[in-house]
Assembly symmetry: C2
Homo-oligomer: 535 residues x 2
């Protein structure tokens, strides 16, 4: 048994841990740092894999892949590491299938889904209500939100049930929850959903691929490069792969971190979610322990299917398909995934309930038959189908994020970022901007690094940073703007939506078939006109 | 590394694992059996500890302690093992404190709490509604329950919010949830609560200490004796304590169970909830994996405080105190715990949110000051205060039971009892009668043992047992009565309650202070009269 002395040990070589290490090294190159990672690779919930493609082989992201223009933390990192982004392709017809296997498959070209005016009105009022609630949420301390206990005591499903009028919209919202969280609306706290949306600047930002939203751009060469380049800068000698931490003992001034048979003595340890089962001595405070044990992780299976040509583009499709749980389609959403090099591919997600329902073989067969159904027979002639089931990934157990079931925020949130002795908590789940996303991982890693610096070498911190560390520990919102600003076009869209609300309201009064047809046409045209003005 | 060959390995030497082993041994004494237990004792979530008391030292249960007369499985075991029960003492004044630290502390003598007529009416209608819902629940397969997805998509809190009229009743229901599950109503699925209540024969059975209910009797000498005597019969040489299983590998016909450095090859493995983190090769099916990861466990701290004399009895108190979360009292409920030998004691529970809010020192102080407030200054002169925080217990992580958060039953319940290769699942969480209780642990262990026997030596099973194994595996209710019969006095009480409903309904119309006083008196008298007739 060897015992080595380190200044900082970081548990987890994902984006959060490596961003922390990077900041620590930039501030004090003399710090002795060790990064321990259970997996045999860096990147955590980002991984880029080579698979057979039109031009031999090419690389795709099988974990986190998108970034948006309001995600400042990840964008700065991308720039610093010399990487480039390119926009998500979303031009052409989008496929939309809800209401059961035999329901009509609809297509549409705008960013407004092909919904009946009544469902559109319903969507409008629901998004408006959610955004109004989001505006009341205090992201740093959700318990400060008015009526927080009530909001945290109900599921997102109950909220949709009480606030969406139409069955169709409830199905839409199920797809949204599955696509964003890998989890059903019944498994999540309403307050958690509001906090998550508020940390992204609003609920539409989570769902869309337009500017400012979560699915806006991708990184050339894949997102795992971020972690690899960070490890290059930190020095690979400081990163130990295949080294799962099994115990952390804090005994007075000595802290031990135990990795199989290596014992290390660090001055600070930084943990990145999701934590594996670790023996803490002394035990973590109950609040923290319950939080760690009880945050369900999403279940997401991501697949990439490569083709000789992007036949869907030739046929006028964008590659985006949205399918409800009532259909016989295993995936909830697909997108075009053609690489900048031109290798044609589609990417899709099988998530939530659907991810547990199929055997691997059945799933692949059903994905293919659904693609044929929605995009045409060409979908059957693929080069390669590859999927990654994140539930089977050691030290993650799921993807994209650990959420909070009802009641967790109310009782256990205060312990989310609170240090336990010399243990600090990072990981995207602890972020206050774009929490759950790659950008949140970077923000959380940097915040935890500042906490460690404030302890070990406070002179390396600016006054603002010292203030920020103090604020993050007292769990209060800083006086100035903390949430990413909302893109102007979303405000503009909201006005359009409110106008639509009024028009479609009139429709509800008229209730005549011909009136319905006219208003439907009018609403659709209004959206198209609005979009062309805004973008 | 040694490899031994066994017929059956049972993981967990709690009541469920040992009951299974006992049945296996009775049916086929030649079976080679090994019971592996991570803790250094048998008993799982039952443990009896000696503490200083009036007559030197005496023993109290710090885990499961009560049994009820409809819990046939545990009662048969108690009889078989030559143990005796004695009734929970509940004669005298009960203390009831809700509505904030300054609200009036009320006392009452009947089993009907000291509530205003309006709250009593509210309680009546709520219990009536819940019992009606319970009657529709299919315990073996909750997905067969009408409207199951909706019932599982909402929290118990949301149900109370929508169906209880008064704030007081909502606080009462919080206490009930905490006392029974160690968890807040916001953290639990409504359908799970209904299934749990139905498996006990109704919701009142969970809450009361009257005949047929969960808190009816205790076992002389403590409940851990059940496990110790079972181990005596099975043979202690077959029970390995301090042996936590770290991996289970099933490779074609060979199954390996790995305990640190011992490797064993069994024909069948039986697991008892709650499972520690174990490396399964191949991985468990996703459904099963998610279920295991995502069932939150209750947080309960149980304390026993010993006294020279049972001063509360002398003062006319029963020792039962119920305190709401709005008060400054850490415990939600206490009972008299005087042993049959005469050693005076009180037992209490700090549960749910309250269990995470206090440091150990503050908690003890607040418990004592609350006992002084409710029972008088004599409470300050105790002999010994001992508590057990089940959240700190290795291989349990909490107590009394792992519950299901919203959405879990709908998506993952089918995997609850479904064997995975040669792994069988026991543990009280898998029971269909008194699930979550000691009786459920025995039932589940015996069911899993029959499953193993049906595989390894089917001739030892009766026809009825073979039928039962088939039924349990196809997840359907047997044609005959499956739920414990409801004690007649509860039906009688229900009639009284409905009468009260009508009377108090009239009150709501009258809305006059004097009318309120009269009706309150009338309702109270009616309950007292009814109780003396029934019991």
């Amino acid at each position: 048994m060897t015992a080595e002395i380190w200044d900082v040990i970081i548990v987890g070589a994902g984006l959060s841990g490596l961003s922390a290490a990077h900041l620590l090294k930039k501030r004090d190159a003399a710090l002795k740092m060790l990064i321990l990672e259970g997996k045999d690779r860096v990147g955590g919930r980002t991984v880029s894999i080579d698979i057979p493609a039109a031009n031999g082989t090419d690389r795709w992201d099988f974990g986190g892949q998108w970034v948006g223009s309001t995600q400042t933390h990840i964008l700065e990192l991308i720039e610093e590491l010399g990487l480039e982004t390119y926009p998500q392709f979303n031009t052409g017809k989008k496929v939309h299938h809800m209401g059961g296997p035999c329901a009509k498959v609809r297509t549409y070209k705008t960013s407004i889904p092909a919904l009946s005016p009544l469902v559109l009105l319903d969507l409008t009022q629901l998004i408006w209500k959610i955004d109004r609630l989001c505006a009341t949420v205090c992201v740093r301390d959700p318990l400060m939100t008015p009526n927080s206990v009530e909001l945290d005591s109900m599921t997102l499903h109950s909220y949709f049930d009480q606030n969406a009028w139409t069955k169709e919209l409830k199905e839409e919202m199920g797809v949204a929850s599955r696509s964003v969280f890998g989890i059903e609306p019944s498994q999540m706290s309403l307050l958690f959903f509001l906090m998550y949306s508020a940390a992204a600047g609003g609920v539409l930002q989570l769902l869309e691929s337009s500017p400012g939203c979560a699915q806006e751009s991708k990184i050339k060469g894949g997102t795992q490069q971020l972690s690899e380049r960070l490890a290059d800068r930190i020095g690979w000698k400081n990163v130990r792969l295949g080294s799962a931490v099994t115990a952390i003992w804090q005994v007075r001034y000595i802290m031990l971190s135990i990795v199989d048979y290596i014992t290390s003595i660090p001055h600070a340890v930084m943990f990145c979610f999701p934590t594996a089962k670790i023996d803490y001595q002394p035990a973590l405070p109950s609040q923290r322990q319950y939080l760690t044990q009880n945050m369900p992780v999403g279940h997401m299976i991501k697949f990439v299917i490569t083709y000789q040509t992007a036949f869907w583009k030739e046929k006028g499709f964008s590659g985006e398909i949205v399918a409800g749980s009532s259909t016989d389609c295993p995936f909830c959403v697909t997108f075009d995934a053609t690489n900048p090099s031109g290798s044609a591919a589609l990417v899709g997600f099988i998530a939530g309930q659907g991810a547990s329902q199929w055997t691997s073989k059945e799933r692949r067969k059903a994905v293919l038959s659904s693609l044929v159904k929605y995009l045409g027979p060409e979908a059957a002639s693929f080069i390669h189908y590859e999927e990654k089931d994140w539930a089977k990934e050691d030290y993650s157990g799921g993807c994209p994020v650990n959420v909070m079931a009802p009641g967790l925020l109310t009782y256990y949130h205060p312990s989310l970022r609170k240090p336990c002795g010399r243990i600090r908590w990072a990981g995207t789940e602890t972020a206050t901007q774009w929490c759950g996303y790659m950008s949140g991982a970077v923000q959380a890693g940097q915040r935890a690094a500042l906490e460690v610096l404030a302890e070990l070498c406070p002179l390396t911190l600016t006054e603002e940073e010292q203030e920020a560390v103090l604020q993050s520990q007292c769990n209060e919102d800083p006086p100035l703007q903390t949430q990413p600003s909302r893109p102007a076009h979303l405000y503009a869209r909201k006005s359009v939506i409110i106008a639509a609300l009024m028009v479609t309201g009139a429709l509800a009064l008229a209730q005549r078939h011909d009136a319905l047809q006219k208003v439907k046409l009018y609403v659709t045209n209004m959206f198209v006109a609005a979009k062309s003005t805004i973008f």
